[in-house]
Symmetry: C2
Subunit: 178 residues, 2 copies
Amino acid sequence: MQNTKLHSTKFLDLIQTIFTDKKGQKKTWFWVQRPNSQNAVVIVATVGDKLVVIKEFRVPISNYEIGLPAGLIDPGYDIKTTVIKELKEETGLDFVKFIKEPSPIVFNSAGLTDEGCSIVYVEATGKISNANLQDSEGIETYLLTKDQVKDLMNQARHDRNICIGAKAWLVFENFVGE
Amino acid sequence: MQNTKLHSTKFLDLIQTIFTDKKGQKKTWFWVQRPNSQNAVVIVATVGDKLVVIKEFRVPISNYEIGLPAGLIDPGYDIKTTVIKELKEETGLDFVKFIKEPSPIVFNSAGLTDEGCSIVYVEATGKISNANLQDSEGIETYLLTKDQVKDLMNQARHDRNICIGAKAWLVFENFVGE
């Protein structure tokens, strides 16, 4: 496999890979990579019987996306310290404990990018706050009951303007037990 | 919002967007878009009590990824006709019926791309075959019981060489009931 950086930006590189497939044919693949290929944590947090959900403006979809708290695992951090930091920053909530073992690094869209994440399930406590948000992050946090998550899913089926993340959708299905 | 194509390839465009955030500050965002922003279907299929899982080489991760059958919704196709076509092509299996209503279009990684998908749950039948595979797709299909999915998840926790898709991981959790 031979990689060429076609275009490099501060946050994303466009890569061309030339490789030989199983049948011996030469193929070209285009994909993107974050500098240092940092992985992320995706946080499925509950406070009591409520699920922690965030809403955030996302440039690629020109819209707000409803999803789960998440953040890149910076150098010097592990999954747990990243979870504690990102949960606090994005929602104001405090980490209590892992409810189950974090997932291994799994891949968001492996045809498009090497971006990976560990999905973690945590119990959280405290009050929602955006006092710890970084300047540029306009994140709103909600604590939703099962019935509220069901309503949100139904609304999204009938209103294309309500955008939900794919991982969040699957977590919602799990949360409402459907 | 002002979009500039920084680099265009046959399958992927790198875009720079300059926008003004809530606080009136000028910001730059880099992201990628497929030509025509085609969405995909992601197929959670069961044959009896077994889950349909595929394994496919993915250039961005330089490895095989274990995931779910999926495919782009081509012009002239809707979700159902795409599901029938892709399930047959990738696995040889025949669509029987939807088990529940397909999800709305949800987003794989809305900070990185506008790529969206509908997650569908289907009952399938027939025999696994790769006779309908397109030339370049080296896809292997497996029918896994709950215990086999549990084993696979445990193996992936201890072997970084076993790569699983994020959506597949969440579907696995749902499937094994954990």
